[in-house]
Assembly symmetry: C3
Homo-oligomer: 347 residues x 3
């Protein structure tokens, strides 16, 4: 044994390594199959019928049941971690997310990101990086796009930093920019098989729903999930790196909360827009995740029988539902996630 070559391993990018306009082709494309789908259903109490049944999806005008929208998101997101968030201090937000095409078993996904903003922090040690990430399938069709921003460390506190560029991001995806999957038709939607009778017209803006159910999460589960999406961030796996407890991947909380929201939102079938999201507090094994939702907006769509509903999805680890922030506007300590998304629902 002679020379040690740690430099062959990926150190991740630091703040000074990014430039606005830079394009990053993320590594390790992935082919998905019924295996990923079965695992998704084992990891989360996912019951939305369109993602559970080929016949139900067929009756809604789709050729088959697609991979869960959030599974597609996690696959695309996971690829960006080695390039974007390996040296991240915090995952700050999401915006302008749109699902553009369903992902089918057999598809191969890869991810590409463009750096769209950079802002050094006044402490001189960190900065904020904005990237717009696109997930592409084997035909180079975009299946998903979203903006994410993270706080990233500098490798060299004295490194020159660029002029700040802060992108102007939409507060929410406008309803007319949502992409409805080809052929989707809810005009003969089977509410009995879907599990609940509540249609788009039954939800009012401002209405809140306590999803009641909870899941106490385990180390083995969140690691299985996070690895499945090929997310390599050390904090999720290595207790010697983070002796105070492995941090659960924020996407695990998103998927758990969304699956729990079936109970009361069984007909919020397809996620088509991600308006924003905050991982308000960290989640650890042993926490019991519960969820509540608030209807933020509603819109019509050109597809037959299909309405869009904008939902706030809040995941908590205790406390009463419907509580979000304290008097100073800070998230309460029991709030794990505050997500803002658009879903498609039968009229």
């Amino acid at each position: 044994m002679t020379t040690q070559r740690r430099h062959k391993t990926n150190p991740g990018r630091f703040f000074e390594d990014y430039r606005v306009g830079q394009t990053i082709e993320h590594a390790v494309p992935r082919t998905v199959s019924g295996g990923e789908r079965a695992l998704y259903h084992a990891l989360y109490p996912a019951r939305h019928a369109l993602y559970s049944s080929d016949t139900f999806a067929g009756a809604c005008g789709l050729p088959a049941s697609p991979l869960d929208d959030l599974a597609a998101f996690h696959v695309v997101f996971g690829k960006t971690v080695p390039d974007v968030s390996l040296n991240a201090v915090a995952n700050l937000g999401y915006a302008e997310g749109r699902w553009l095409k369903p992902v089918w078993p057999g598809d191969t996904l890869r991810s590409v990101s463009e750096v769209i903003g950079l802002k050094p922090n006044s402490n001189g040690k960190t900065g904020v990086v904005w990237v717009r990430t696109t997930g592409l399938n084997q035909n180079d069709e975009a299946v998903l796009e979203y903006v994410r921003w993270v706080m990233v460390r500098k490798a060299d506190p004295g490194a020159q930093v660029p002029e700040p560029v802060v992108p102007d991001l939409a507060k929410a995806v406008p309803a007319d920019r949502l992409v409805i999957p080809d052929g989707l038709d809810f005009s003969t939607y089977d509410f009995t098989l879907a599990g609940e009778p509540h249609r788009w017209g039954d939800y009012e803006i401002g209405e809140t729903i306590d999803h009641v159910d909870g899941v106490t999460v385990e180390e083995a589960e969140h690691m299985l999930a996070t690895r499945l999406w090929q997310n390599t961030a050390k904090v999720h796996f290595d207790l010697t790196f983070r002796p105070e407890g492995r941090l659960i991947y924020g996407g695990h909380v998103i998927s758990m909360a969304r699956a729990l929201s079936f109970n009361g939102l069984a007909n919020a079938q397809m996620i088509v827009g991600l308006n924003g999201g905050a991982h308000a507090n960290p989640c650890f094994a042993g926490d019991t995740i519960k969820a509540w939702s608030e209807v933020l907006d509603k819109a019509e769509t050109p597809a037959p029988g299909v309405g869009a509903i904008r939902l706030r999805l809040v995941a908590t680890k205790g406390g009463d539902p419907f509580r979000l922030k304290n008097d100073e506007g800070r998230y309460l300590p029991e709030v794990l996630l505050d997500l803002d998304y658009w879903a498609l629902m039968p009229l």
Copy 2:
């Protein structure tokens, strides 16, 4: 945030909500694939060759290796939970179960139940509900049927209750009512590849077999399994709901015990009848499940080389094998499961 609408979530049915003759179409059909099969083999030490190998199944006259019988059972059963056992106090028994058609990867399963019996308990707070559940595939062919009865709470102790109707259930499925899968032929059965030399003729009625192996169960595993079958009962997942410990889904114990029974019953290949079953005591993470079997009956079948064997399968969490009940006829505290089923075995 304004009106709270908890009523959009499913409260489950209470005793007074059932009527004899009522038909319940259960929600969320499910398409199964090689993913469910792989997960079944990761969750249980399943080794019956017919469910492990397309070539072995082909040599037995089947087009391919079907989904494990008990996986099919769990999928069908899981759908009934939100409608039948969400407010159940206890799962009391099974009867008249028959597997009617193999389930293949690609099949979509749904479940329908008929209420066939109701009996209020004298305490005025609970009652017993009997349902006959049928699992159907995408061609509306029945793949499985069974009777289950549960003790269910009343929402309103003063609610009017119907006249008792107690169904007359067979003590065991008669051998001539067992359905042999189309094409099944054990006349050229390969005992070497199956793993044991013992054929139908080698087992005697009254014979008992200690399956020797054991598995110490973990929280993550039983939750993965229970979610995979889309069984939503809170007691399995939410430690804040049940601080004394998450109760392990009884079907997890059934599958674990059946898989352990490979060692001594490797040739009891296909389950075709469920005569009865009791979840004698609760199972928790940390328990070590072991199993023993007793040969209860044997019968011939019209299929070439195929015999039927009726087995008692007992799962325990400690203690010596072959002990079941105390002098008062009560299950010993270490007994988890007492199952009575028919399997097909090479002559």
Copy 3:
């Protein structure tokens, strides 16, 4: 309940049951699918692009992405456990391993072993058994072969034992005996999608690489993995059998370390040779597995753009990288695995 028939269960073979030249056809063939692949990626942080993406594999001249080499190894190995290592005291080594054909989703694998060596130990209680195991697919084509030797107990200390036969095993598979998969062509290899720029020419013999990342392992995970490969050894599952802690299947450590080695060896795509391996110390849940590698040798191959690299892969549970043995030549207590293999890498 009458006669107890424990003899129907498999007691495993004891040292005196083996004869040189004996052929053992192992039971329970297995068909693999996308499910096994997805589970492999959930259980290990596997990111080698050729096993992740059909399109990447296609661009390398293969018809699709094969099942991970080590998953194929585990399936073939698992079948041998009931016949070879159920009464093993220790798994002593591997040699002359070669991957002969990729395994594709849909393939059915079985295993056959030949006893090639026997040596009784001087204590009279145990002996060493050498077997050469071959994995075969549904067309009876060999996909994998390797020699393994284990120390096995005698059932009867007084049993007659054969004359010692110690096979003469190659220290390493010669590079010209490595089998390159049909069609493999790395001449247009995409280093960006693969995740690292380092090609065969960038690695020097003697070079060492610290793979940096670590995974703290959990009981549920190693049991899921070990069951998936149908490995039935009690020590991995039954805490009443081994109250000091369930021993983690050595193959779990191999796969974990290999997956971690992506970081620094992302282009060591296909494993084609297993020269040797020692499970230096036992691994238990709670251990954090890390890995480092050393380049032992390099060779050219006849395939376009394809080089072979011989690597030592060391898994540890703590301590500094690049430390292996103490002054007396014994493995340090933190070393879990010392594996010697050949991989294929783009020139």
